[in-house]
């Protein structure tokens, strides 16, 4: 395990395999980040993993929805444990493609979507890059 440039020996890089293992949990929340009109923008979403891609839904009239298909996004999933001061964070980099709802996988229809609404868009992010780091528990 290699150290990050921060010099913190408790901070280790995760392998892509470890990253995907963490992304695969049930009903997890991710934060989607993109370059908004006035700096970076973030929204939390429920997501699902299917066919090596991440899927989630957004509202048509949200800032990301109005930006249209093909935007570069990050999808971040993390976990923090206050008791041990440990945690991990995984970031996927990719392009957000807006997909017709009928072409979305069943897993997205089964997802406990948050937020939900009648005017939602299905989004698929095909990863170009996966990275993660873990803060090990304090001894």
């Amino acid at each position: 395990m290699t150290q990050t440039p921060s010099g913190d020996a408790r901070m280790v890089q995760m392998t892509p395999y470890e990253c995907w293992q963490q992304l695969d949990g049930d009903n997890q929340i991710a934060r989607v980040v993109w370059a908004g009109q006035d700096g970076p923008a973030i929204i939390p979403v429920n997501y699902a993993v299917s066919d090596g891609a991440l899927w989630f839904q957004i509202s048509h009239d949200s800032e990301l929805g109005r930006g249209g298909t093909g935007q570069r996004v990050l999808v971040e999933v993390d976990h923090a444990d206050p008791a041990s001061h440990a945690g991990w964070s995984v970031v996927i980099t990719g392009t957000a493609a807006f997909i017709d709802a009928v072409e979305a996988p069943d897993i997205l229809r089964d997802l406990r979507v948050w937020p939900s609404g009648p005017r939602s868009v299905c989004v698929r992010v095909d990863p170009d890059e996966v990275s993660g780091r873990r803060l090990m528990p304090r001894r």
Binding site: P5, S6, G7, D8, A9, R10, M11, D26, N27, Q28, I29, R31, V33, W34, A35, G36, D38, G39, P40, A41, I42, I43, P44, R72, L74, E76, D78, A80, P82, H85, A86, G87, S89, V91, T93, R112, W114, P115, L135, R138
Partner: protein, 128 residues
Amino acid sequence: MMIELNEAESWELASSVPVGRIAWMSGSGPVIVPVNFVVHERRILLQTSAYSMLVREADESQVAFEVDEIDSVTRSGWSVLLRGTAHVRFHDTLGDDLPAVETWADGTRRMVLVIEVSEVTGRRVGAP
């Protein structure tokens, strides 16, 4: 069910958790990192080292900060999004009344990143 939170509620919830996520624009696109933070006088404070990417890339730029607490089983919880400008300062120039950030990661952190917040939005979701 989704309820918009007002500013006071959003700040109160944001103050209740130890970890948030800061996003900024780097030369190659947006970056997001989980960090420890404190809320002080409607500003977000983080402690960082002088050599961090955060100091090099986010100083005097627009940033976004997100905190949430969502129970994946009951689908209930809240999220707060804050946007504003980041300013990097030496810790000892900010006065004695500054609350300390309890930082989980090790290492020396002499710099404080202050987010002057210009926009706060929050929402609560839960089973009806």
